[in-house]
């Protein structure tokens, strides 16, 4: 009997047990689905990534029904193109890239354009380069965790992220919400690492200011 066939057969038997499926790497799941059409493997990919993909699509489109359209499109694309995944980047990076492309394509088809304002000149210091009178008066860092991590504060930060221009929003989401590395974000968005760092820096400055305004107002 051919070794390849035996391996496939073993995989089929092993993957009958979902405990084994959940232990497999993304790349192993891709192989199981593309080589033997194992639907459990595909279900596991959906289980692992559904929330991340929907969350990212929502971050780009800022609309839940648009996000669901993109979300569905991404997994449909995946069923058709999973066999084109070559493992040159991490599977998650490849999937995020599909999501970015599907989101942009969807927004274009809906003629939903967003003006991409630059935050390059956004900084908290004055023209002399000092923060004098700009930060301390609104220092909220020692507020109790119950306030800092309240649902309302989380809603404010979520809303503020959505106020960021799209190119900053996507970088911020992947880097600070999803916790990807600069290199991974650069790879997904096909931009340079310095561009990732620059956008992330300005996005964080903008969001820190928004939170300061919120907590300052809240105290009144």
């Amino acid at each position: 009997m051919e070794t390849g066939f035996l391996k496939k057969l073993i995989n089929i038997i092993v993957t009958k047990d979902n405990e084994y499926i959940s232990d497999k790497s993304d790349e192993e799941l891709v192989n199981l689905y593309t080589e033997i059409g194992d639907e459990n493997a595909f279900d596991e990919i959906v289980r692992r990534y559904a929330n991340k993909i929907y969350g990212f699509a929502l971050r780009i489109t800022r609309n839940s029904s648009d996000a669901e359209e993109v979300f569905q499109e991404v997994f449909l694309t995946l069923t058709k193109k999973l066999d084109t995944f070559r493992g040159e980047s991490k599977f998650s990076s490849w999937l995020y890239r599909i999501t970015v492309n599907a989101s942009y394509m969807y927004l274009r088809s809906q003629k939903k354009h967003e003006s991409n304002i630059s935050l390059e000149n956004y900084y908290p210091y004055d023209e002399k380069g000092t923060l004098m009178g700009r930060v301390m008066a609104k220092d909220w860092s020692s507020r109790p965790d119950i306030i800092i991590f309240s649902n309302e504060a989380l809603k404010i930060i979520d809303k503020s992220i959505n106020e960021l221009p799209e190119s900053y929003r996507t970088v911020f989401h992947l880097r600070d919400v999803e916790g990807l590395l600069n290199e991974e974000v650069a790879d997904i968005l096909e931009i340079s690492i310095p561009a990732v760092k620059s956008r992330l820096h300005r996005a964080r400055l903008f969001l820190r200011d928004r939170l300061s305004d919120y907590f300052h107002e809240w105290r009144r």
Binding site: I36, V46, Y125, G129, L131, G133, V135, L154, I157, I161
Partner: protein, 79 residues
């Protein structure tokens, strides 16, 4: 001379421990002497803690998952 502006522009490197020793020393010295910068660094760190909490936010409801399942079943032929 190290200024508030330099603290702001080096904050990412500071958080990621990527600053060279000289810049790190200057930043820490300035921040120690400047309450505005101390507040800036502290609020910046707290902001990162808050945004980190967004990662666990559930987006996909059982209804969304079910609609996806139905769609995939209707459009994807078994391999």
């Amino acid at each position: 001379m190290f200024m508030c502006k330099d603290v702001v522009e080096n904050i990412m490197g500071y958080i990621d421990c990527e600053l060279d020793l000289q810049t790190l020393k200057e930043l820490e010295k300035h921040t120690g002497d400047c309450p505005e910068c101390m507040a800036f660094v502290n609020t910046y760190k707290r902001m990162l803690e808050i945004t980190g909490k967004l990662k666990d936010k559930p987006f996909v409801t059982p209804e969304i998952r079910n609609r996806l399942r139905i769609l995939l079943k209707s459009k994807v032929k078994p391999a």
